[in-house]
Symmetry: C2
Subunit: 539 residues, 2 copies
């Protein structure tokens, strides 16, 4: 017997129409070169309609892929809505990808049109001969069309000016594709994730849930995470659903710009990878800002060192740990404390906050051992983390690696984790980043987090290097704080770790770097480190 | 092009499993005869599994309807989960329905099994010859099976004790029916609404949204609204999704019991119809309780008089207006103030709080005039309120009145309302309750709310009575506060209204009643009033 409830599709169009009807007067602010752009949801809506008409003029048809190559701005937000609501698929390109990978993903997704920030044209122009699927480049900028060899090339503002502000949104199947994002694997080409309207709607509603991010109308949301990184963690859509003010930093995410923007726009919720908060911290300590409106800093993408929680706590700023994946739309777990933990000692609370968190309402988790058995939720047993839910990928776009990514309907995350009795997961490592020493596992993440607690350390990464007797042993790669450069020694690091870990976990060597190599989304690039230290000889 | 996202059904089973995995230790408390029952979600889960096995033993098959005739208790909650999660349909019967209507809905829904509170047996026993579809009665109580002529009759606790605590939940189509609830129309038999798993899942997630009820793990939720009234407004399912502590009042909802329970269980969120809060107010004023944990009192079902907001504000208790319908799963709009209203004067804020509120994320609204045109959102223009969304009914169960209930895919609520620029709706009246005087409309709700602001008035209802010249004119039916009985005059009422309304809105007559007739769900029963005053002669 079926329920008798409307067959009402869950689509991004619902969010857009809701923002227009209920929140027309709420603001969307963008930092620009030396200035600020600000308009309202009513303006967004009109320009999104114009853009949808322009897309039709450009020959974009339902299901066609439209790429963006852009920083976080109101124009990027317009593309976020106009493309999926008109039935096409917005493919956000990572501006930090290498040229060959970029050309691969544009071609693999068969992008028809690319929307490009004027400031990013130099990154795209050298690839123009490798992009046969692209039929038009649209340049997003304030000035006249710059000189560029890209062809055919159009100016975003001209397109909008020429288009009608009236558009009748099509009725969409909620399972339709709304967006794409490619994720870099350890080997081979990036893999494409194809999001659905339904998944994105559910993800948005989930982010507004009180125990998740509780995004609400009174919020001012500044995603530092790029809009090309996994739907900007879902924040732009969720903010539109509840009419939160949105703030975009453009390409200005250095500490002075960011601190100023957080203060001046009275931001209440912000999000980004730990490297952002690591680099912002010393600046805030030296240059006090009034950030008292901030109620939550969401940090995800890699593990947050416990020392970072404490340092921000001291500034009255609360970091909340989150974990997710491009393949999950992306938010999976969040590290709020629960009611029965509020009476715990501060160090116990910190221990739980430093875990990644427990599953959000639309996500199920389990950890599975080598024999395919689910491991108990005891906070100790390690297994590969697997997830499922209505926002989780069912396979990669036209990619034969899809088959290996699933286990009985669960998506294999490639992370090794424990789950405690409350459901908090703790990522021990990527499967591939574990140091396998003499048949035992050493968590590179645990070592890194501890090293980053040393007062003279800015950043640290631990990788496995080959070892004759133990197969692999840990090597610590450390970037000292500027004032400690040249004075920090390997012995200090190892002495600092000694009381915290079993003796056989201690790194066999410590190397000091001037800067940590980072991936396109700002994570520590262990692939690069491993390549660099492939032939490293342990003493 | 379809998205590549898991085809993961949204079901009540997800909520149940989530509660078990993440919130096993959280409490569910029920007030009992002279005591308190308290157990944990882990216990709930085990008993729900036992009950699902018992249902199978009773011959309940997927799609079968299983009735409940019960107050709010942990046992009722067990049925709320075991029936739909095992694939059957839980049909909550209104214990205040008249015998004939009760027999009608049990037969119309073809209930196979009825779960009955021991204390309610006397209401059901006289109907036993009229219930041919019922194959078993299960009595929920603490003692031995009482004497009853119902056959076959079983004891709830015996069934559970005999059943296995292991049960493998079936995979369900998310569109499957999960529940039924009948709503009383103005004429004819009650109409059956059939809920779906998907709708109930979305409704639950929506209730946890920060701008709706923000139900979260730290909450203690006490629904005063009966569990037989429109899914208890969705609270039990939403609370399970986020692991909130749940508190049930059993049949003890009189002011002294309620005040005590709210205080002792440290309730943070409670909900009920205005009559509950009207009757609780004088008790709280005379008997102070520590209700400082309450963050929200949700009031819905009929309009909240502005004076009630103010009186509760004075106690430090915040009433939030809500509106919905059985046909909407049921929550439709909620009356939180928005960020740009926080600087308003108190009387302006009160004016907006006294409206019903603006649409929750899964609901769209419009108001349509006599000519079928959508009226502007200007806060003045009246039209029939229409709604649509993924939790809204698509028709009544086996009922030819379904056809008239829709307008181009929108559900016709039967309410006349205005919508303001912010999207706040204000219900002027039921279409049938409007007083049509000389071609103009008079809102009975506005008059009632104003009369209830008079310090000597406890309750008031306004109905139309026939008038030779004006077709209809308003008659005010007023219940004075006990201390004003006999001393309050019609002139006082009309004088009180005079500065607030156009002269032609003023009631032509005022009658005083000892008590207000109420419907099965506690609303003022205007049908009864209209019948009683059908031949009333205006002076």
């Amino acid at each position: 017997m079926l329920g008798m409830i409307m067959d009402y599709p869950l689509t991004i169009t619902c969010l857009l129409e809701r923002a227009r009807r209920l929140y027309a007067g709420k603001e969307i602010a963008t930092k620009t070169e030396g200035g600020r752009h600000c308009y309202r949801y009513a303006d967004l809506y009109e320009r999104v309609c114009r853009l949808a008409n322009a897309l039709r003029e450009l020959g974009v048809r339902p299901g066609d892929r439209v790429g963006t190559f852009a920083w976080n701005t109101y124009r990027h937000l317009e593309v976020y809505f106009a493309v999926p609501c008109s039935g096409a698929v917005v493919h956000t390109l990572n501006v930090r990808l290498g040229g060959d990978q970029l050309a691969y993903v544009i071609g693999h997704a068969a992008n028809r049109v690319l929307f490009v920030d004027e400031s990013l044209l130099p990154l795209l122009e050298p690839l123009r001969e490798q992009l046969p699927t692209v039929r038009a480049y649209v340049v997003m900028g304030d000035g006249p069309l710059p000189d560029t060899p890209l062809r055919p090339v159009l100016r975003y503002e001209d397109l909008l000016a020429a288009a009608s502000p009236a558009y009748a949104w099509p009725t969409l199947d909620e399972r339709s594709a709304c967006g794409m994002c490619y994720t870099s694997g350890t080997t081979g080409h990036p893999k494409g994730v194809v999001y659905s309207h339904r998944g994105m709607y559910l993800h948005s509603l989930m982010l507004t849930s009180a125990d998740v991010m509780a995004i609400c109308e009174r919020d001012v949301v500044l995603p530092v995470v790029p809009m090309f990184h996994a739907n900007c963690w879902g924040l732009p859509y969720a903010a539109a659903m509840v009419g939160a003010k949105q703030v975009f930093a453009g390409r200005f995410t250095q500490p002075p710009d960011l601190a100023r923007l957080l203060q001046d726009e009275q931001v209440t919720l912000t999000s980004g990878v730990p490297t952002i908060w690591i680099s912002l911290l010393p600046y805030l300590q030296e240059h006090p800002h009034d950030l008292s409106r901030i109620r939550m800093i969401v940090s995800g993408g890699s593990a947050v060192p416990p020392s970072l929680f404490t340092a921000y706590d001291a500034l009255g700023l609360r970091i909340v740990h989150a974990w997710g994946m491009t393949e999950m739309s992306p938010v999976g777990v969040l590290g709020h404390l629960r009611s029965d933990m509020l009476g715990w000692r501060p160090d116990e609370q910190l221990g739980t906050r430093a875990k990644q968190g427990y599953p959000v309402p639309v996500v199920e988790v389990r950890a599975v051992d080598d024999q395919g058995r689910e491991v108990p939720w005891d906070g100790r047993s390690l297994g590969e983390l697997q997830v499922r839910g209505p926002c989780v990928t069912s396979g990669y776009y036209e990619d034969e690696r899809s088959a290996a990514a699933f286990d009985d309907g669960w998506f294999r995350t490639g992370d090794v984790a424990s789950i405690d009795a409350h459901g908090y997961i703790q990522i021990a490592d990527r499967v591939k980043d574990l140091v396998k020493s003499g048949g035992e596992w050493i968590s590179s993440v645990d070592l890194e987090s501890a090293i980053m607690g040393h007062p003279k350390v800015l950043e640290a990464a631990v990788i496995a290097v080959p070892h004759e007797r133990w197969q692999e042993r840990p090597l610590a790669c450390v970037v000292p704080r500027p004032e400690a450069k040249g004075s920090l020694t390997a012995e200090e690091i190892v002495d600092y770790l000694r009381p915290r870990f079993p003796r056989w976990w201690l790194p066999d060597a410590v190397v000091f770097l001037d800067a940590m190599p980072k991936t396109g989304v700002g994570k520590f690039d262990k692939k690069a480190l491993r390549a660099h230290f492939r032939d490293f000889q342990l003493a």
